[in-house]
Symmetry: D2
Subunit: 452 residues, 4 copies
């Protein structure tokens, strides 16, 4: 008898996808998970948050990214089973019994994301990884019920892949390592929807050289340049898309807006009880999974629309700025040497009438494009291994000068944010009063950087 | 002195766009319009409404489409000015004094769209074209104020282009005709974001052959096949994307949901006053421009999330179905011959426990891919003219067999919608009671069509 | 023991291909065929002959097209084996024992092509289909020897697929029907290398709906629009690329050049014995397979370079015009009504000093984009069948208005070719003598067509 | 009166191009140059020589590359004229009087290339740069005559741009520097036709940030990452396409074949006088421009076809191997440490019956992806300059860690080439005699490298 676990759809179901052409679904379990309400909710959460304010095409959802991660994982499983199955190559080979758990983990790895995740988490102390695990393991979610039909304990196993405690390293690394299905999908997808070409790398070629070994996932040495190109593509996407100063300028606005809402709630909860009920549990700091699953980008935006009419000037101005894309401007600064100057600049902003707590910020964005294993580090990374013809492994940065140049060093910048009005003459209504202040402020910014 | 009308940006500003690579903004007026709150609101309204339930990539907004229409129009103006300016070719040539009004009309032509436009308009008797004109001409919108700075009366002129009463036919046809910047952008954009290839046609080639003449816009005869290809691309997009049965199955749900909300409001307005305040003016049938401009997709979805907890079974079930993508199923039927059978089918649906007013529907989607001028028709269309070397004009379907095959005939189908449960055994909990009814129902559907 | 027939490569070998990304070779037999000298020769023969004079990117070879046809066929075999194997669906299913013969026939179907095939065949009465069969079946070709190692009689079986006498219709139609791997590859490949977008259709979607049935190959009804789009793409490629007037103007030059060479050879064979030895057997009308296999585009061009120095004015002028791209100009004409006028026009060409046999031509290019079965026709075509859910078949033009518009009617035009000098003032050195003749000539051409 | 220099075509003429969509020709001079026989000859010379043996799509010609370089240059001139004309920004701005000379130099910069340039030059001591200058400056070429019609001395001026002695550095650097129109076109074009994605970089973005300054060409600082991406793309193309071991294995065959022909000619010139007349001047070491202009890839290949029938075993075997793609195999080695071992390996090859002078080779390929100015170097390179907002310049590797990692260091490898038979058991007919030699040979190759 066909168990639910093995139940294949009579006809494969496909989803048309601009990045992978088709997403192929073959298992009833996977289709049921996609149809669950917790997963459908991801349609209403943008993959890139405030980046769409800079790249207007980037309105794609976490739903489409999750399908993409699933699809890349499925293709890797197919390749592994065809070329490197444990039956064929023995120890270090792929055990296709792991397929379903791998696919489920790939599909669900982001299911705990909420609206504007990064900022929301920061203000409300939520954690999307912990929430992913909770959604998978809470008996009253549809996802739990589907997974539990596969086998008792199966939800927890899927969660353990995401938590990286599952015993099979191949399964874990396929979904979470420095070159995994998650990163491969988001680089390609974000490049497609932003309309940039930086993030494109040769997925077909990567898939030709990926292979299992007893310690996890490796890449054939003949694919070194393809892997190298992926690392460089990743670096370029961070530099040019993810860390774009304008998107971060919107993120700062959002952060200050949510922070202000929390402050207002403490003084005057009625407003929010009346017009932002779904946010109240978070303003209270006491929420359930069910509360969390009701949030999405549209809910927050709806509340921001309503807050524009509230009496609190900061709340309504920040809401207006967020909804209508009025980002803060910025300049680079050096982390250690310019602390005093930053305070001075904030002071100048205050002088012309802005509360610097809400209208200035320092914002640092750094990414480590690649790192090899460092025993002394407390955040271990699985290094990328290349496999020679004789089976021996070589760590990537040993053979790639390009990767070596990027390895181990955070790439990014520190920026100081302030109101556009500070440097845009046409917006300075009070120039006759504060002309000197404005000039002084501007004199400290040169070639886009803060100067002493 | 540079007037606002002629004020060019010191450096052209660009928006990265996946379809046109870059959107180039050169006028201060255009940048100000883009930054207006009425225009920014289009970021929160999906271009394709329920199509994203079928094509998950199609999450692009009316904001990006509007920029795209602007950009194509801008490129046409550049071409016209370079090759066919009135100074150069005289009568029938392009007068570049028309550029700014044309660009403004292109950018703003869809600014009156609201959330899920088609359905919303149907239920609440709004009209996005009339609203576009109102937004442009209402003295307290930011858009009006920007346009009025150009010249007194300028907002009304821009509106008249959209209303097709502006005297210069070239300006009108560039934005609204059977092959205009609007259609060209949406076909390419929707093809890109859905990930289909049907709608692609050769924009560069069309732009090489487009030209002004004294009656409007024509295309060089050597571009006949490019124009033909555009018509076929359009036909394919309608058949395969816009008329997709699943998207329409979701549209039916949405329509019934909003209709149910209106009914509930009449009996019990308190619910909506409490949890759907922004929708109340529409439920009341009495709304202002300002009310309208507060709506977007997220606002409606937020209310649907809340309605899932309301007592009315129809309201909460339909809201659940919409949010979690549970479309009605469908089959084709013939318009005139199957009326009795349709009633019978609805009756069978009712038998097993569904209210047919909410869980069945007939839905017809037809498009006229192309039509030539018909004096007898009351909805005139500007036919597509091809221009011979000697300047004479030939109507497109006279020289293209393909277009002739599509001209004048609506393409599409009539479908009958019903709950998936009617034909999916695994969902029929009450099969022991109604087994015969289900079988009877299924026996009337063959090869996807209703049969007697 | 592994026989040669079943011998798989230890590691699949791939060829990077711009159209299909990778060509995957799994059988030793296929790799050996690709490495044979008769197949390698296809690298030196352009796929599109004189089209590269119009579309300079179209320099791709028959080698790359042949690999592409092989690859599409391989993918279809994989799909058939996975979803419709005879073991699974019984009668009408795919028998994977046919795979190798199908792949060999796909790879070799064009191996008999020579340089500038169409023109060469016309002048020297060769036939590339007959030559394909001969190359496969001649015991001293490398190809024969490879195929004969598979099994005695195997070369003849492969040839019978190309000759359409092989018993299994699925095998034949995969390679030769109105929608086969051959056409699918050349449309996509020629579109890619010319840089046009007309020929693109959605191969992935076609491959999703293609299926075997007991009479050959059919397509699922849900893929109707994809098949329709392929027919339209094909029509567009013929109209815009294959029938381009300039390419045909070069073809006319080539044809007259080869014809002149044959005439010269009859009077004065020594020239050719000395400087064009590889062409002599064809000028003699008596050649072997081995002679044929020594020809390629470069050989003919080399001889044309040498002929530029020969005394015969026609031979050297035509060679110069061909090598240096001096096409004849042309205008459309109507087949039946303009015979007398054509003679008159030729007479005018003669008047100003050109031999009309070499410097004028009529050239007709017509294609039947699609046809259904016509018992009365002596050139039967396998019609395209769509398969309903219940297994019944419907002929394509019955359900597609677009295809119906193209079915059964040749598309193309008749053109009259003449020297550019006839209509280009700047080239008319003898205008004072023949000014009236030139004016008279020009007066009969209007909007690109011959007029009375 | 319109002079030839200023004569614009009544209608711009376009060439469809897969890489740049359209090549736009506006000047009569440019059209005439394209139509010249010396330029048309470039159609018959492959851009990438033996690379098409590895990447079968790479059959594109130097003709298409030359058009591409012209087109990029034309676009840069347009941008410079629109945004940075000398009239507008003064000193350091672009003088549009330089347009025609720049376009001519761009179009003609490769006109001196012959068949299989690199190898041919090496064997016959020709030099394509010197020949380019000669073709431009020789009074009896069509190109000279066209240029001289522009103005007396104009051909020499165009040549001086190519020789880098022209006074305007902007003109020179547009065509020849580390990031010029030449490199930009070939990277994109070669990536397109090989079907790889490595070489793609964002041309539109580079064109947005390129600008003139008084010392030549610079790039806006905000385009740093686009320039960086170009450098990395270039590096990847060299590593993966231009230096591909198989293409180099074919190049070695070609080099030995031409070398053998020269040796044979010295002993027995009659053969070549009879069957390779166009090559004789080069075998003699005494050729004219006219001799050179008669050569192309097809001419050489035609001679190779004939040489297959000659008595000299080396000549005919090497010709067979080249025509039928039988490359030598190879392994990496270390330049300084393995000289003795290389000799030993050659000896082993000789032992089993191959003349090591013709069947082995060492081949080193290195490229310097980028270098900054080094006063001590005798081959100066124009470093890439980025321009800050205040106009100051910063050298690229100062701000890009990636470029710094590649700067100043040659990237590539040394390879030892030998007959495939040495390591392929299935080809070793004399294994019983030389089994130990073969094993010994193979034992010195491990993971693709020579080991002691």
């Amino acid at each position: 008898m066909t168990t639910y676990k093995n139940q294949l759809l009579p006809n494969e179901k496909v989803f048309r996808d601009p990045v992978h052409n088709y997403i192929h679904v073959q298992h009833q379990v996977i289709l049921d998970l996609i149809d669950s309400k917790e997963f459908q909710r991801l349609r209403r959460i943008k993959q890139l948050g405030t980046s769409s304010f800079t790249f207007h095409g980037a309105e794609h959802s976490r739903f489409s990214h999750s399908l993409g991660v699933y699809e890349i994982t499925r293709r890797i499983c197919d390749l592994f089973q065809r070329n490197y199955s444990i039956d064929k190559i023995g120890l270090g080979g792929w055990d296709d019994q792991e397929r379903l758990i791998t696919l489920c983990a790939a599909l669900l790895h982001d299911v705990g994301h909420g609206p504007y995740s990064h900022t929301f988490e920061h203000i409300f102390q939520t954690n999307h990884e912990a929430l992913t695990v909770q959604i998978i393991c809470s008996p009253n979610t549809e996802i739990y019920q589907i997974l539990n039909k596969v086998a008792v304990g199966f939800p927890e196993k899927v969660a353990s892949v995401i938590q990286k405690t599952y015993p099979n390293q191949q399964v874990i690394q396929m979904i979470s390592s420095q070159i995994d299905a998650d990163r491969m999908d988001y680089l390609l997808r974000d490049a497609y929807f932003t309309g940039t070409e930086y993030g494109t790398f040769d997925l077909t070629r990567i898939l030709r050289v990926i292979r299992p070994y007893d310690g996890g996932i490796a890449f054939g040495m003949n694919g070194m340049h393809a892997v190298e190109d992926y690392i460089v593509g990743r670096y370029q996407m961070y530099m040019q898309v993810y860390f774009h100063p304008t998107s971060r300028g919107m993120e700062v606005i959002l952060e200050h807006l949510l922070q202000r809402a929390r402050e207002c709630y403490q003084n005057n909860p009625e407003i929010f009880l009346r017009n932002s009920p779904l946010l109240v549990p978070f303003l209270e700091g006491n929420f359930t999974i069910d509360d969390y699953l009701r949030l999405d980008d549209g809910v927050l935006n709806t509340y921001f629309i309503l807050w524009q009419d509230e009496a609190d000037v900061l709340l309504n101005d920040l809401a207006y700025r967020f909804l209508n894309r009025k980002p803060l401007k910025s300049c680079r600064f050096e982390e250690n040497n310019q602390t005093a100057l930053l305070q001075h600049m904030q002071h100048l902003v205050e002088t012309v009438g802005y509360n610097p707590n809400y209208y200035t910020a320092v914002h640092s964005s750094f990414d480590l494009p690649y790192d090899f294993y460092r025993p002394e580090s407390n955040k271990h990374r699985t290094q990328i291994e290349l496999q020679e013809k004789d089976g021996s492994l070589v760590e990537l940065s040993k053979v790639s000068q390009l990767v070596k140049a990027l390895a181990g060093e955070g790439q990014g910048d520190h920026r100081f944010y302030f109101p556009k009005e500070m440097v845009d003459l046409s917006l300075q209504d009070n120039y006759d009063l504060f002309g000197e202040t404005y000039k002084h402020f501007a004199s400290h910014i040169h070639n886009g950087a803060l100067i002493n």
